[in-house]
């Protein structure tokens, strides 16, 4: 008894209600991961022609399911769980009203269930429902209304989650008027700010166009417009996936390494940069689209390239924090300290390998972002090769590794087996190295992504980097290792849940080397950043969207949909852009001030 009193309380000891929500969110996330992995291995073996257990026409049902379950449910459910933990923990106060918390969780779960049903119904011929539109749902391919409706409910759930966290923060603020926003809370609030801006566009696209259209209220939509609105959301969403990983790298990884975060102020700068720059870049997914002027594409590229900055800074800060830990543990030499790190811990090794793959993904991302070199790789298998390094590993593997650390905190149960955990994260790394590398190489051969049968009757691919067939084998082996790794992760976690609860698992997080008191106050001024972010979004998107509507009509290029109000609006916007430009120059000036 006395031992329990003496040992520090864990998160679940202190906030049992919140811990229950976090566990529920993680369980939803991992259920999606399981489904996603099953579809992932099916499609890997199918497109490499190793084993074809489905007809090729069903491949696209599988691919839709893999995409949606992985990048909408797995990542976002994990995010809401992690953010609930981080906000509560760092504010050291419970959420305002746990009923609201369960409400948003319920909405998200219900929405995803509806969307999932609409996708999976595509396998059953007797049900007249399908949503084989892939996770990008480009019109005029049309899904069953349930698909769009479910996504809407899911997104509304995330909006309420954000409101829940903001309200709790404001309550904390009134109790602590003079304190700096704790770092993890700062990360939650900035990420959600970005999310509100980004998801507004996809919500508009779905509610104004796609849902009414799928219900038959309107006859047609403008494919370029809905595509542009999708990518308005589609790029920042990649940072939405990434921010939980960044949070773990900044606030948990240094602790595991035995050190402390190198710089709290720089971490804040990085998150602010993401708020500012992650949205006005979506057109980089449309470099090869007709109907969008080259100038707009160039602006989008410039913004995208500057978006490299926060990630490059993160690389330095995170590695430096780890080095600090290694040196605290007695590490010496230029690189000799690398041996003084806790490589036996899956939570450490997993996150480090995830970071290493992110560095590689950074390179292929630069190629994707380079406007004209995009001709080389656009819509080839290079692209999935790239994002399996980023979201598929930097994010997914960090989430798995983070789970090994955080699950004991939210359940008081020790992890079943660290050895299995270590094996699992290394296996993921090897599997992904094989699969992703071969995907990049096939992309350079011109092999398209998103296809059931990438071999064609009329021509053969050139032989480079080992040739098409050989690369297929590498993809198949890599995908199989990834699948096995996922199952080991889920199995390890299931066995962990069977462990008895114990006390003494608490792992407090240390304070940074350079703390919040060193960060300029203006960094915490969220209103300012929202203002600048919105200005940048308007600058990057007002003219392209007006031009798209002006060209093709609000509801597509069919007869009679050229609303006259658009042309005057277009001119008005062009006039408005000039003063906005001046405002932005001012704003960036003050930003420089801050960094200095």
């Amino acid at each position: 008894m006395s031992a329990a009193i003496e040992s520090e309380p864990t998160f679940v000891d202190k906030f049992p209600d919140e811990a229950r929500v976090v566990r529920a969110a993680f369980m939803s996330s991992f259920f999606a991961l399981l489904l996603g992995a099953i579809f992932g291995i099916i499609q890997t073996l199918h497109r490499t022609d190793v084993a074809r257990i489905i007809p090729s026409t069903d491949y696209y049902t599988v691919l839709t399911a893999h995409g949606v379950f992985m990048v909408i449910s797995f990542t976002i459910f994990f995010l809401v769980g992690l953010f609930t933990w981080a906000l509560t923990r760092s504010l050291d106060r419970p959420l305002l009203n746990i009923k609201i918390t369960w409400t948003w969780y319920g909405l998200m779960a219900a929405g995803m269930t509806l969307t999932g049903i609409s996708i999976l119904a595509g396998f059953v011929d007797s049900i007249d429902m399908s949503a084989d539109v892939l996770y990008t749902f480009y019109a005029p391919l049309q899904a069953h209304p349930l698909f769009y409706a479910g996504l809407t409910v899911f997104i509304v759930g995330t909006w309420i989650a954000g409101a829940d966290w903001f309200r709790t923060f404001l309550a904390w603020r009134s109790e602590h008027p003079d304190e700096r926003i704790p770092l993890q809370t700062f990360m939650v609030l900035t990420t959600m700010t970005m999310w509100y801006i980004a998801s507004s566009a996809v919500a508009a696209s779905v509610l104004l166009f796609l849902l009414p259209w799928s219900l038959g209220f309107i006859d047609q939509v403008n494919p370029t417009l809905t595509r542009t609105l999708f990518w308005f959301f589609g790029h920042p969403v990649v940072y939405f996936w990434l921010m939980p990983a960044y949070m773990l790298w900044y606030t948990v990884l240094p602790k595991i390494a035995g050190g402390r975060l190198f710089s709290d102020p720089l971490a804040r700068v990085v998150f602010v940069l993401f708020v500012l720059l992650s949205t006005p870049v979506g057109i980089h997914h449309q470099y090869l689209d007709p109907g969008i002027a080259e100038g707009f594409k160039f602006i989008s590229m410039t913004n995208t390239m500057f978006l490299l900055l926060p990630s490059l800074l993160t690389a330095f800060t995170v590695v430096a924090s780890v080095e600090y830990g290694a040196r605290q543990r007695g590490g010496t030499g230029l690189l000799g300290w690398l041996t003084n790190l806790p490589w036996r811990k899956p939570e450490f090794t997993g996150m480090m390998l995830a970071g290493l793959m992110f560095a590689a993904g950074g390179f292929s991302g630069m190629v994707n972002a380079g406007m004209n070199i995009n001709y080389l790789i656009h819509n080839t298998l290079w692209v999935p090769g790239h994002f399996h390094l980023t979201v598929g590993t930097a994010v997914a593997l960090t989430m798995m590794a983070g789970t090994y650390w955080i699950w004991p905190q939210i359940s008081n149960k020790p992890i079943f087996s660290s050895q299995i955990g270590l094996f699992q994260v290394v296996l993921w790394f090897i599997g992904m190295a094989l699969m992703s590398n071969a995907m990049h190489a096939q992309g350079l051969l011109g092999v398209p992504r998103r296809t059931a049968e990438p071999e064609y009757s009329g021509f053969d691919y050139p032989t480079m980097f080992g040739g098409f067939e050989e690369l297929n084998i590498q993809i198949a082996i890599g995908g199989t290792l990834l699948f096995v790794s996922t199952i080991l992760f889920l199995g390890n976690l299931a066995l962990t849940m069977g462990n008895p609860t114990v006390s003494g698992l608490a792992e407090p997080l240390p304070s940074p080397v350079s703390g919040a008191e060193d960060a300029p106050k203006v960094l915490d001024n969220l209103r300012l950043w929202v203002g600048i972010a919105l200005t940048l979004v308007v600058l990057a998107y007002a003219l392209p969207i007006a031009a798209i509507i002006n060209r093709g009509g609000l509801l597509g290029p069919g007869v009679g949909t050229y609303p006259v109000w658009v042309a005057p609006l277009f001119d008005a916007l062009a006039d408005a852009a000039t003063p906005l430009l001046a405002a932005i120059t001012d704003a960036s000036g003050s930003l420089l001030e801050v960094v200095r």
Partner: protein, 169 residues
């Protein structure tokens, strides 16, 4: 705000890298003259391509000495014309649209690639070299038969092109 000297160095290097990336792309645009698919072509009614001068008859036609224009229609699940026959050592401008959903037009193993969007027209100009054959793949998912959607570009010698009566004018 205190930033370690090494980190300042890295910040500077990062900015150099970013500027160099933008610089390379700009060089590609002004040096070798790589141009993007843009908004140079007017829109088209995808339901009435047969009434459009450009696409009523998908074809290759000569427009100048060694200059050719190709009008290509993508549809579920193929390309017209197929094959696209063009002469060697010439400049070919491709105009690509779709009459139904969004498709892709990727010439396998080359740097030619564009989206085929209903209502819009992608225009890309390329220079052909020696006689050869290229495969075209639809690289944007377009429905259940997406994987069978392919086309060809046959680059033939000038004399063979004339023999075929390749120019439809």
């Amino acid at each position: 705000m205190h930033i370690h000297a090494y980190e300042k160095l890295w910040l500077a290097l990062s900015i150099v890298l970013i500027l160099a990336l933008i610089g390379t792309v700009t060089y590609g645009a002004v040096g070798p003259g790589v141009a993007m698919v843009a908004d140079s072509q007017s829109t088209v009614d995808p339901g009435a391509l047969d009434e459009d001068d450009r696409f009523s008859e998908p074809r290759v036609e000569q427009v100048g000495e060694n200059e050719y224009e190709a009008y290509v229609v993508a549809y579920q699940f193929g390309f017209e014309p197929t094959p696209i026959v063009v002469p060697a050592n010439s400049t070919v401008t491709l105009h690509i649209t779709s009459r139904d959903v969004i498709h892709g037009f990727g010439v396998a193993g080359t740097s030619a690639n564009a989206m085929a969007v209903p209502g819009e027209v992608s225009e890309i100009t390329v220079e052909t070299d020696e006689p050869t054959e290229y495969g075209i793949v639809c690289n944007e998912y377009c429905g259940a038969g997406h994987h069978v959607m392919e086309g060809k570009i046959n680059v033939v010698s000038q004399s063979e092109f004339e023999d075929r009566g390749g120019d439809s004018e």
